[in-house]
Each structure stands twice: as C-alpha cells, then as structure tokens.
C-alpha cells in the first residue's frame, strides 16, 4: 500500500493559497480514505462465527471453485473506513441544503427509533396475516392521513419512489381507459416538468408531447386546450410547478382535460408547499404521488430509498395496483392480493413490487405525521412558503428573479445567472457556495429558465440560518457580476476540486481495477 492513496502526485503544484501539501495527503480533520480493495484482504474478516460445522454438501455439484475477490476489514477498520467516508459528505445534519424540488428538511430521529422497533424491523413480508396486524394497521393509518390531506378517494401504497409512483398513476389511467375500450396514445407534459414525467410516460407506452409555459412561468392554458383531443390520455402537471409557482388555473386545466375524457396526473414532488392548506382533490386531480422522503421527512439516504404512495380520484381508485391492506368489518386487517383480487378489486392493473412497499418508510412517515398533526402540517406549508419568499425578497436585488414581479412564490424561489459577467454562470456561484459551507441549490433546472437556480429552504431552517445563507449568496452574486474569475476555481476548500466528468464518461471506470484511471488521465 502506498503512503498516499489519493492519487495526488508530488508534481501537483500547491494550490492558490500556497498551502503546503502533506506526506499523507490528509489535512488535519480532512482525511483521505483509500478503497476497501486497497486496504482490505480476502483473508480478513470482522465477523466471528463461533462454530463452523461440516455437513454433507447438497449444492448440486456447483461449489464455487474460483475466488470472488471480496476484501474484508476488521470491525475497527470497517467503522473507521465508513466514518472517514461519511465526513466527505455534505448533509442536512451539517447545514442548509437548499435543493429545489427536493425538500431537504430535517429528518427527526424519533422516526429512526420507531422504524427500528423489532415489531416493525423484524417482521417478514410473508408472515401469516394474523401475525402482522400491527404492520397492516400502520399502512392503513398512513393511508387514512394521506387521503384526508389530499381529499382523494383511494391510495396505492406500494410504489417504491416518486418515479415509481408516477408509473403507478399512469398505469391506473391506462387501465381505466382500457376498461372503457379507449386506446389513447398521447401524454402531455409541460416543458418545465421533472425529467421523470416524460420518461415515465414513455415507459408506460405513451407518446410524449410538450406543452409550453407562459412568460409568467405557468402552463399555457390556451395552448393546452388547443392540443387536447380524443387521442390524449393524460396531462402530467406539477403543482406547485417547478418554477415554484402555484398554477392558479389548475381547476380550469382539470376541467378542460376531463372534458375531452382524459385524466390529470399531478407530480406531488412539491406537496410540501400546500400540505394542510390545499387538497389536490379539490383541484380536479385524478392521481398524484407523494414523496414520503420529501414532505414527510423520511431520510434521503444519499439517493434513496424513497417511497411514493399514489392517491387516486374516485374514477381511478378501482384500477390501483395489488397488493393492498384493507380493514374488514370484523376489525381484522387483510392483504388483498392476486388470490382475493377477483372478488374485491377486479379492475386492478396488477402488481408493481414483490411485497407491500416501503414499510420502513411508512413507519417513519406516520411517526412524522402524528408528531405534527393537522395543525403542525398546515404550519409546515406556511413556514416553507414564508422561508422561500424571504429568500426571494432578500436576493432579488442581486440576482435576476424571472418571476419575482408576478407575486409571491410557493416553497421555492427561482433565480437565474442573467447579469453575471462574461465567462461566469450558475455553476460558478453554486460551486462557490460549497466553499462557504452550503450545499448548492438545484442548478439549470427547470429548463424553461436559462441558467436556473432553484432554491428550496424548507420550513426547518431558522431565520438565522437563512440570513447566513443569504449573506453568502449576496457576496458571491456580487463577485459574479463584477467578473471575479477566481469563482471558476471553486470549490477550493472541499475534499475535492471540480471533478473531470468528461473523463469519467469517455472512459468509464465503474469497478475497481488497478491503475486504470491513472493511465487514462496521463
């Protein structure tokens, strides 16, 4: 093993600040960490098995003969490896995480404690139903809350994430259309939609067409109406939309869509702005997924697991997927799956996952909901909208706010890099924020705003925290307008400088093999 596993070479010049490099590549608490393949050994294990009985092998003659190549570490080495890696991550626990449309709010630790209760964590999905009544009741209670909060008629709990929920919603729509012998082929998606919307529609077998936005950042109702017709199966709307604005004509949109026999799908990614304040069911929406990992505080975990239950209108509820939990008149909870579907859920479009969905997320989300209650959830929406507007008004004099004039925003505020000096753009401001100790905002999304910066502070940030963030953004924005080209080097204080993504894509190194990347970089 080399002393310096980071790949840093002595020929690398000292950085602009003239900091001396160390022999190890470490910088005090900023510690370099090699790969497990460089520090572990296939003969090392951190697990002690007391007894190793030898029995006759019944492996059908398929015993492994070749080594696998899996390195092991002792327990102290393993804990240290991952602890060191963890310290190279930004996280909500460390500071404000203003990613637009991602709702990076505090993750209460009671959720984690509850999810780990043996009665939830140590229960098998195929246990006889009389032994899992508590688990089914959790699903049922959460479903009850989601229905009341959205004003809808049915809910499919099994989708594993937001995009999976979108798929579920579109498959319900397709099943409902097919049930009436209707073979519509087109799904309309606004230009500002999340990329998952068109991808999901295509995955569900539909042709995708864009509908334009108005200058005020809303769906162009007239353009939509002009395109609606008997070939349109559904319109996928995000409301509040990805520009952080509520669609004031949502009801008119829904009515127009329903008038041609199509359905309205709503991307619920931005539900945090309206939870407890507005019920999507009152706006004519037929299906909407709810990201439990956004609005209901289950942890993002570095990119999942998520959970995406889908609430359904009266028209779509009969077509939801299997399995689901239902409470019977005798007070017993039962799972409706293929066996009982013929009697109880004839229109269901089928099964989306092996078991019952993200139970570990249901317990966390229900814990969060009970902790907040109807009053607290309403305050969640109000405070998240207040915080976003505070950011909008505190930055609009230094950053271009394309929709700032049209009134208040919802839970996220959108800006652009218009007015930055030549050569500087959104990414430079974002990377400079890293040096200031903040996670950047969502960059270059939505696509309808050139050089977009989408900031969602969430309700769990205090005014003091927002003020620190605002001061940092103001300072960087002023440097960007003044043409401070040093921003292009940012970040300089992070564990890594800007990474070469072109190299990574041109010659992909996706698994560990000795020396490969070093050769590619030469």
């Amino acid at each position: 093993m080399t002393v310096n596993p980071s790949g840093w070479r002595p020929t690398t010049p000292a950085n602009e600040q003239g900091e001396a490099q160390t022999v190890t590549g470490n910088r005090a608490l900023m510690l370099e960490e090699p790969l497990i393949f460089e520090i572990g050994s296939t003969e090392q294990t951190g697990v002690d098995f007391a007894e190793l009985p030898k029995g006759a092998s019944k492996l059908g003659g398929l015993e492994r003969s070749r080594p696998i190549g899996l390195p092991g570490l002792s327990e102290p080495e393993m804990v240290r490896h991952y602890t060191r890696l963890s310290r190279q991550n930004y996280a909500i626990d460390l500071g404000l995480f203003p990613l637009g449309s991602c709702t990076m709010k505090h993750n209460p630790r009671l959720n984690e404690k509850v999810a780990r209760l043996p009665g939830f964590a140590d229960v098998h999905p195929l246990q006889p139903q009389e032994t899992v009544q508590g688990a089914l009741e959790v699903i049922n209670q959460l479903a009850f809350w989601l229905l009341d909060l959205t004003g809808m008629h049915g809910v499919a709990m099994s989708p594993k994430a937001g995009a999976h929920g979108e798929l579920c919603g579109l498959l319900c729509i397709r099943a409902a259309l097919e049930a009436r012998g209707d073979k519509r082929q087109v799904v309309l998606v606004p230009e500002s939609a999340h990329g998952t919307n068109p991808a999901t529609a295509a995955f569900a077998g539909y042709a995708v067409e864009n509908i334009p936005a108005t200058a005020a950042g809303r769906v162009d109702l007239e353009a939509l109406k002009a395109r609606l017709g008997p070939d349109v199966a559904a319109v996928m709307i995000t409301n509040p939309n990805t520009c952080g604005l509520f669609e004031p004509e949502m009801k008119a949109i829904s009515d127009a869509v329903h008038a041609v026999g199509a359905f309205v799908y709503c991307d619920g990614a931005n539900f945090n702005a309206i939870v407890g304040k507005v019920r999507p069911g009152d706006l004519g929406i037929d299906a909407m997924h709810i990201n439990l990992h956004k609005t209901f505080s289950t942890p993002h975990g570095g990119g999942g697991p998520g959970s995406g239950p889908v609430v359904l209108s009266e028209a779509l509820a009969p077509y939801g997927p299997l399995p689901y939990a239902a409470k019977y008149p005798d007070g017993i909870f039962r799972i409706v799956e293929e066996e009982t579907a013929a009697d109880e859920h004839r229109g269901g479009f089928g099964r989306m996952v092996a078991f019952h969905g993200q139970m570990g997320m249901f317990t966390r989300a229900l814990t969060y909901i009970l902790s907040h209650g109807a009053d607290g959830l309403k305050q969640v929406a109000e405070d998240s909208v207040l915080n976003a507007n505070y950011i909008l008004r505190s930055l609009e004099d230094v950053l271009d706010a394309p929709f700032g004039k049209s009134g208040p925003c919802m839970h996220e505020a959108i800006f652009s890099d218009k007015g930055f000096a030549d050569g500087l753009s959104t990414i430079d401001l974002a990377k400079a924020l890293i040096d200031e100790g903040f996670h950047p905002m969502t960059m270059y999304f939505p696509l309808v705003v050139h050089g977009a910066m989408l900031i969602e502070p969430t309700e769990t940030e205090s005014k003091a925290s927002l003020d620190q963030f605002i001061a940092a953004v103001r300072s960087i924005a002023q440097r960007a307008k003044a043409g401070d080209q040093s921003l292009k080097a940012a970040p300089v204080h992070a564990p890594r400088r800007r990474l070469d993504e072109t190299l990574a894509a041109r010659k992909p190194v996706l698994t560990y093999r000795d020396g490969e990347v070093a050769a590619a970089a030469e």
């Binding site: 690398t12 960490e33 393949f37 572990g40 003969e43 951190g46 098995f49 029995g55 019944k58 492996l59 059908g60 003659g61 015993e63 492994r64 190549g69 899996l70 390195p71 327990e75 991952y82 890696l85 991550n89 996280a91 626990d93 140590d122 229960v123 999905p125 899992v132 909060l149 995009a163 979108e166 990329g195 998952t196 068109p198 991808a199 295509a202 995955f203 669609e247 407890g276 507005v278 942890p299 993002h300 975990g301 570095g302 990119g303 999942g304 996952v353 092996a354 078991f355 019952h356 814990t367 009970l370 902790s371 309403k378 909208v385 915080n387 080097a489 800007r498 992909p508 190194v509 990347v517």
Partner: protein, 439 residues
C-alpha cells in the same frame, strides 16, 4: 420576515391559490400534533401487534431472509452524513456516498461474476423487469422465456409491466420435483427470444447449473438473465456470471438489510461491460479532480431521465443507496472469508433441519440440492398447517398455497428457510409442531 416579504399575514403568500380551494383551518377530523412520548407510545403499541421473527422459531424465506446484522452496520447507516445527504449531484461534497457506491458496484460485480454493476435498484422484483426490458433493447426482440423457478411475485411484476409494453412473457408453474425442468425451459427458446430468465437458487430452493441454459440462449441470439434472491448463497456456489449469464439481478436484502415487512430493500443489477450504456439506474465512476486527485462522480447520465427525458433507458430516479450502504458495509465486515463461513453455516444448518423434517412420517424433502432453503411436501395442505403452527408459536415457513393460490399440485408444498440465526431448539420446535399438524 413578513415585513421583508411585504405581506401582513401568511395567507397573502397563498394568493395564487383560488379562495375556494384554500382550507381555512386545520383539516377537519384529523388530530392535532402530539408529543414525542405520546407518538412513541402509539407506534410501540402498534408494533406489539406483530409477531416478531426474532421472538419465535422462524423459518420464512422466499425472497426475504433473516440474517444477523452486526451492530456496526446499523451504526454506519445512521451517520447523519450518510442518512441525511442527497443524491450526489455535487461530487466535491459527496465523495463519501460516491466512493461507497463505487465499492458497492465492484462488490456486486465480483459476487455475481459480472464485469460491471450499477449503484442499486428499488428491489429484486423491479430489477428483474428492468433486466428484461434491457435485454429487449439490446436484442431488439420482445419475447422472454421465464423459468418456472422464478419467484411468482417477481413474475407478476414483469407481467404487469409487459401488459403495457406489449412484451410477450412465456411463464410456467413449478413442479414439486427434485430437479427443475431445464429441458422444457430450453425447448421454449427460439429465434424470437430476447431473454431467458432463471432464478438461482430457485423459488423451491433448488440449485441448477445455468451453463446449458446459457449455451442454448446464446445459440439463439438471446441473453441469459439470472435472478438471485439470496446472495449469501454465492459464498458457496458458482456465480451466475461464471456460468454464462449476461445480466444478473438480485435482491440484496439478505446482506445488511433487515426484513422490515418487505421494504425498503435493495435491488442488485450487474451485466457485461459492452452493455453498460443500456443499463438502467445510477452509476458511480472513477475520475480525477482539477488537482489530479482521484475522485468519483455519477456518470453515463446521458442514459437517465433527467437528461434524456422520454428517451431514457428507465424512468428510475431514486435508487436505494442507504440500503446499498448497509449491504456494502456488511459485506466489507464479512469479507470473502466471512461470507464463505456465513454461507457454510447456513448450508449446514439447513442440511440438519432438512434431515430432521424429512424423517417425520409423511413429510418428503423435495430437493436434491439446496443452499439454505428447501421445500418439503406435506401429507396435508401446507397453508392451514402454517396457521396451525402459528398457534403453537412457530413461524414454520412459506406455504406454496400463499404464493400460488388455487394451484392444487403445489398446495402441499412448504418452503423452509434456515439461516445462521436458527438454533437447534428452533429446529426441534419446528419438527415438533410439524409432526403434530401433519397427523
């Protein structure tokens, strides 16, 4: 703050919401917030209405396995820097997650005997459908042959999706026989076949050599997809990649992730390097930073929905990174030596249990081969037998009647899983309970 935003009250910020859609007070009929103590009490009471696997003799498998999870694994996944971070779109401050993904990808690829693996899928069942869909893109054919040994819920998921994509799936029910019917499977492969899908070990616990199936698939220009629901088995038996599988998918729950009533779990997905641009899901790749230091980034994202929109390889956005962290941390703690020992222990305990159960009059062991899970044929219907065993405080396995309702030929089958967590006393309790219920 209201003064800065120019509003006199919060409701003015909601002025875009039509008045008739705006709720005035908290939603009627829902309770107000509750204290931490009260919520914990409520949730704990609900949790006590479940029978806890660890409290009783426990023998359930069929796609979810109860293994011991070392305390250090759960500690690592509760580190806030992992737990409360986002998808690593800003690689300079997400090297922890990205390096861990890269290590995970390498471990999965090696375990499955493949060249590359992605950073995880939702679960095994969705990974299997994504593999079928990938094979269709590669071969430009739309017919898959699915072995009778594939988990019926996985098959159902594929059937649901195939209905909408107009793919053809040839499926079959398993027989309660010692060997899977490989010849019949091979007989269904033709020039239209895009993929052959085989579970290894299969739903009844049987272990079948995939080599002849791979040869037959390749001869017809089709791909072989192998599905692994119990990856611990690969500590002892040959990897599917070694036997010619082109895509290997699996459920990673049994390494590091608890039972959790079915989720969240972690889908594993590996394939040949030449097919990587058709692979769904996130990928971490190695690169260098502006100073020449090694670092990792999300890569080949031109396959993904946020770039390609309707032309993406999949609509998948979230993966299952925290569960992948549990998997990789547990596998790192085990190492190859520990994984082999764990697998040996599972196999030996399963062998002991199979011998005891097969000695019960009227009970027959179906399998000639198995890893830690096997099927027994009972002289009575297995589903009521499972319920009767619950009355005796034993969670005695998964009845095939639960998995294949209405199939008479399978209704007496009971699938029994035995792991390192199973004690001699547990096996004795199952033996005694089964003896009574089959009489």
């Amino acid at each position: 703050m209201l003064r800065v935003v120019g509003a006199t009250n919060i409701d003015e910020l909601f002025k875009d919401v039509p008045a008739e859609a705006r709720l005035q007070g908290p939603i009627h009929g829902l309770p107000p917030h509750a204290s931490e103590l009260a919520v914990e009490r409520h949730m704990t009471a609900l949790s006590r209405r479940n029978m806890v696997a660890g409290d009783v003799p426990f023998f359930l498998g069929c796609g979810a396995y109860r293994h011991h999870i070392p305390a250090s694994v759960d500690h690592i996944i509760q580190r806030g820097e992992f737990l409360t971070s986002y998808t690593p779109y800003q690689p300079e401050i997400a090297q922890g997650t990205l390096q861990m993904m890269f290590e995970f990808q390498t471990q999965v690829a090696r375990l499955f005997g493949c060249e590359v693996a992605n950073a995880s899928m939702y679960d095994g069942s969705t990974a299997m459908w994504e593999a079928i869909s990938m094979a269709h893109r590669i071969t430009r054919r739309k017919k898959s042959v699915i072995s009778s040994g594939v988990h019926p819920h996985y098959v159902r998921v594929a059937e649901t999706m195939a209905k909408f994509t107009e793919d053809a799936l040839a499926t079959a029910l398993p027989d309660l026989t010692a060997e899977a019917d490989t010849e019949r499977l091979i007989g269904k492969i033709d020039g239209e076949t895009s993929a052959v899908v085989v579970q290894y070990p299969d739903i009844l616990g049987r272990i079948t050599d995939l080599t002849p199936i791979a040869e037959a698939a390749h001869a017809a220009g089709a791909l072989l997809i192998a599905v692994v629901t119990e990856p611990v088995a690969l500590g002892l038996i040959k990897s599917p990649g070694e036997m010619g599988a082109d895509i290997v998918v699996g459920e990673g729950q049994s390494i590091g992730v608890g039972l959790q009533f079915g989720g969240p779990y972690v889908g594993l997905f590996a394939c040949r390097e030449k097919h990587v641009r058709q692979m769904p899901g996130r990928l971490a790749g190695e690169t260098v930073d502006a100073e020449g230091k090694r670092g990792f980034v999300l890569t080949l994202s031109t396959r993904e929905q946020h770039i390609r929109r309707e032309k993406a390889t999949s609509n998948i956005c979230t993966s299952s990174v925290l569960c992948a962290l549990a998997f990789t941390a547990h596998l790192t703690l085990l190492g190859e030596k520990g994984l082999r020992q764990l697998a040996q222990l599972n196999h030996a305990r399963a062998g002991a249990a199979a011998a005891r159960l097969a000695a019960i009059p009227g009970v027959e062991l179906v399998n000639d081969s198995f890893f830690n899970e096997f099927t027994v044929g009972l002289p009575v219907e297995a589903r009521p037998a499972v319920h009767a065993m619950v009355e005796k405080g034993v969670l005695g396995g998964v009845s095939l009647g639960r998995l294949y309702p209405g199939v008479d030929a399978l209704k007496n089958g009971l699938v029994v899983a035995v792991t390192e967590t199973t004690t001699d006393e547990d096996i004795a309790a199952l033996e005694a309970a089964l003896k009574e219920v089959v009489q």
